[in-house]
Symmetry: C2
Subunit: 223 residues, 2 copies
């Protein structure tokens, strides 16, 4: 399993090694940003499918082992038990939807698709786990001013009357030192990954299931 | 509503008019292909979210009015009651999943997202509607040899043993004149569209709901 998530990290890294077959020196910032766009699917309270684009905000290893244990090294345990970090708004419909989600990540350059299904963990202002609180605060500080300001906007998805004042509603300051109560660190902990490689002959598809903290089981299937 | 789906058609067209704000003469084939990649979410039999990348295969107006009535003109009724065309395999897991789906279409250049939710209609070899049969046959003829061959591959998602013969299994001929029984025309008929524009100030978000055959209701909401 280590290899699979390592490959994903390479795929999304901003400076891909030139030895990767998909490496192209003409890829610019647009591609990098696009590479961090992931579609996240949930199930609504009515049992309907919902899917939207979210921005991948990096990896976080299992907080029960936390980042003191060697995150960042190529062979560190993050590759076995890892969370994907996203952010959302406490007032977003995602908060009321299923606590299992599937992310679909398609890499145009390599024609690879990763479908990652697992538990969705919402770290809010009410979280009490010191490690998760630290992760949430760190992410708040790392995002842009514009991204922080959005958490002071009016409730997303609520009616917007024609007479609403855009300047007042959307030109919001946001204090980097005061984490908004609306700011939620959303973690996806995959326990099932469907990896499809369309490039080359033949296409390859492998289903990965988390066995325990230390391993994943791989099942090659027909593409 | 006409304007919304028209705008989507322009967004995905291969020759965008240069007056569109997102027009960029450097966009090449890769971008066009990427523009046709859509993420389609369903709900599994166990109530879990599922999402995968599918290739958009074009628009089809409501078959009860069919294409004699003027499809292709900029102001034709396709913009009011329209289906999105995709293809799938009769043996795919999608066939057993929810009959409501949501497609998420993100356009990197314009930073626009369309979430289209609606009924999923599977047109199989057992379909009896002459108009849908014609659509299915036409699509079979329009796809590439390589795409047609996939419907002769072994069952997708089934175990692939190490001793399997790739050459035998995946170098399949496919007769353009004999539509594979595994070939399914998959139609999505949206009745709910969540349109988000991230570009410009302020961001704009409108929820569209199909009222009847002739109109959609628009509800501006906070982004």
């Amino acid at each position: 399993m280590r290899g699979l998530l390592w490959a994903m990290r390479v795929l999304i890294s901003r400076r891909p090694p030139p030895t990767r077959p998909w490496y192209n020196p003409h890829f610019g910032l647009t591609h990098d940003v696009a590479r961090c766009a992931v579609q996240l699917a949930t199930v609504t309270g009515d049992g309907l499918p919902a899917v939207r684009t979210v921005v991948f905000r990096g990896w976080m290893q299992n907080p029960i082992r936390d980042d003191e244990e060697g995150a960042g090294k190529p062979d560190d345990p993050i590759d076995v038990d890892v969370h994907l970090k996203f952010i959302t708004d406490l007032r977003s419909s995602k908060m009321a939807e299923s606590k299992v989600a599937e992310a679909c990540w398609y890499f145009t350059e390599t024609r690879e698709q990763f479908r990652l299904r697992g538990e969705l963990i919402m770290v809010t202002h009410e979280s009490t786990d010191a490690r998760l609180i630290r992760q949430r605060t760190g992410l708040w500080k790392s995002i842009s001013d514009a991204a922080r300001a959005q958490f002071s906007w009016p409730t997303p998805g609520s009616d917007r009357p024609p007479e609403a004042d855009d300047e007042k509603d959307f030109r919001c300051p946001a204090d980097i030192n005061a984490v908004s109560d609306n700011f939620v660190l959303m973690l996806l902990r995959p326990n099932y990954i469907d990896h499809l490689r369309l490039k080359g002959f033949p296409q390859k598809r492998v289903l990965w299931r988390r066995g325990d903290q230390k391993s994943w089981d791989a099942q090659p299937v027909n593409p």
